[in-house]
Symmetry: C2
Subunit: 344 residues, 2 copies
């Protein structure tokens, strides 16, 4: 079987804020070719995830390359997604199966099942929207769950600050923290997002960081008794302000630093005396650290969704050709919740 | 009983590098007065510890004030030390006892025994030099032991980098790491210190950071397979260079950041992507976190000294009046090993 394939690639390494012109939609010179004896599985992609961390992969030099493959200009870009099996050369999958896992920003993805490939079948009886399997029941959920419960080690009654709180991970962390009996404040970049956090997601408080000239003071007002846990998604001045407001034995889960991705000049300059004298722990992590517990985590989250304890916020664009604009918009803070692209 | 007392005080808050002129030696206007019914213990001080962290206490504003009292200009300055009991108003101590614990930069210290006061009697049969009880068997040893074993959680065969490696804590951490079967490299600021680390203290390698224009490259050469543990005593560019060379799941024990104490402009600007993608943990701590295990820690260290497994490096000045110059010299890197002042 042969299918024509289109994919999104970068034209060159991307070092600053990404724009649509950094990308191109390429029709592959040769079709994707699948044969029954190949052992491979051909998937027609239905939803693709658009995540900020991909920008680090697009850079020429980045610490992320140690853990995740660099993206080569002109080549396919691996990304989490969901799709329908069109043809299968192995017993575990058959045509018509719905799968979620590592696909790519393209119309069709061919993969060879192995323990090293993150891919799972979506149960046919599953009653969640398929898109959930890309976000809240995919890597976003795994990141939020692992980061909050395993890295932050929260205790009931503790105070939690979440930056980029209306994003795919932050919106879940804040809700997990509330379920855990914590006091939770989030920050975001628009009033609409702040309203969402307070009115729909149950945050105790939220603020628009763009309207706060003094972030340390902004946090001091919201946390008069200090911050026990900071779930870090942005870096830069926000980390400095959070450290200044943290309590003794505070924990910082360093999930991402989106403010620093586009501009190393915005890197945080933390006061390490805060770290020493408050015995603060900062710990980096990412979703794949919890891959062996994926089903455990998403099983718990799925239960909470069914019980109405977790609200899912998604932001969906349409068509493979919308990937570049959807991606660039992430860095202008235009997404609300999990950013997805639905393929035609 | 009344004794005339002299003490060292700061003339004003100290914000940059300290100099002798920031201090004054004051003869107290009224003698120290001890009565049997006071319940207090009067100690003639014999050795006093001189430690870099005291500079943070001398600042007007510092995160250290959260954990350790600010030093008030003109007033006595609490410091670890050892002395001889001259008179006691309680049953636990009697004249002639030798004690080690929190005294002050003065000739005589009066204290009231309580669980909140860090003070212990030195066993009369003890065969160590008294000075050891201030450093290697005092807070320096507790800091090094707690920081290395409890914070760094070392495994045999791991690689360890120690900054300020010839200092009171660093010199012990490096030796503990060797005893634990680790590969250890230290840095220091003179060739004589580098020689000490390699020739006397058993470090696998050492270098003079002042002669390395590119610290990242300097560490890369010494750790071709990366750093598993960084015992942080200096901060600034050294932390940035260490993070760039750390391995996945690396641990940074943030003991102190002496390069940043005198100049906030030298603060480290860490690449947090290193922290995320290598899942690095940075953790601040200080000696008093391990106060309940003090006797356990120094018991182990004392055993190692007796067995010749640990070398003790001390740098002793004479006379209370030498405290200011001894303290200022710490920040010029002039001490080698534990800095102490021996009182007349």
């Amino acid at each position: 079987m042969e299918v024509e394939n289109r994919y999104v690639a970068v034209r060159h390494h991307v070092e600053g804020s990404p724009s649509e012109s950094d990308f191109e939609l390429i029709t592959a010179a040769t079709p994707v070719r699948w044969t029954p004896e190949s052992g491979e599985v051909l998937v027609k992609n239905l939803y693709l995830s658009v995540d900020p961390y991909q920008l680090n992969r697009m850079k020429r030099h980045s610490a992320s390359h140690l853990a995740v493959d660099v993206i080569v200009p002109g080549e396919r870009i691996a990304a989490y997604g969901a799709g329908e099996v069109v043809a299968s050369g192995c017993a575990e999958y058959e045509a018509g199966d719905i799968v979620a896992g590592v696909l790519a920003w393209e119309d069709y993805t061919l993969f060879r099942p192995s323990p090293a490939v993150l891919m799972s079948k979506v149960d046919a009886s599953d009653d969640f929207p398929l898109s959930y399997h890309i976000g809240v029941l995919g890597t976003s959920g795994m990141t939020a769950y692992g980061g909050f419960y395993e890295v932050c080690k929260p205790k009931k009654g503790e105070t939690v600050f979440v930056s980029a709180a209306s994003g795919s991970v932050g919106s879940l962390v804040g809700q997990f923290a509330k379920l855990h009996g914590c006091y939770v404040v989030g920050c975001a970049g628009t009033q609409a997002k702040v309203d969402l956090l307070k009115d729909k997601l149950g945050f105790d408080d939220a603020f628009n960081y763009r309207e706060e000239p003094d972030l340390k003071a902004a946090l001091k007002r919201r946390f008069p008794d200090g911050i026990d846990i900071y779930f870090e998604n942005v870096g830069g001045e926000m980390l400095e302000a959070a450290l200044a407001n943290m309590n003794a034995y505070g924990r910082v889960a360093v999930c991402g630093v989106i403010a620093e991705y586009t501009d190393p000049g915005r890197r945080a300059v933390p006061d390490l005396l805060e770290v020493v004298y408050k015995r603060i722990t900062l710990r980096g992590f990412f979703a794949y650290d919890y891959i062996t517990r994926f089903h455990e985590f998403v099983g718990i989250i799925g239960g909470w969704i069914r019980e109405g304890k977790i609200q899912v916020v998604e932001d969906v664009s349409n068509g493979l050709e919308s990937v570049p604009s959807a991606f660039a918009a992430l860095f202008r803070g235009e997404n609300v919740g999990k950013k997805l692209v639905k393929l035609a």
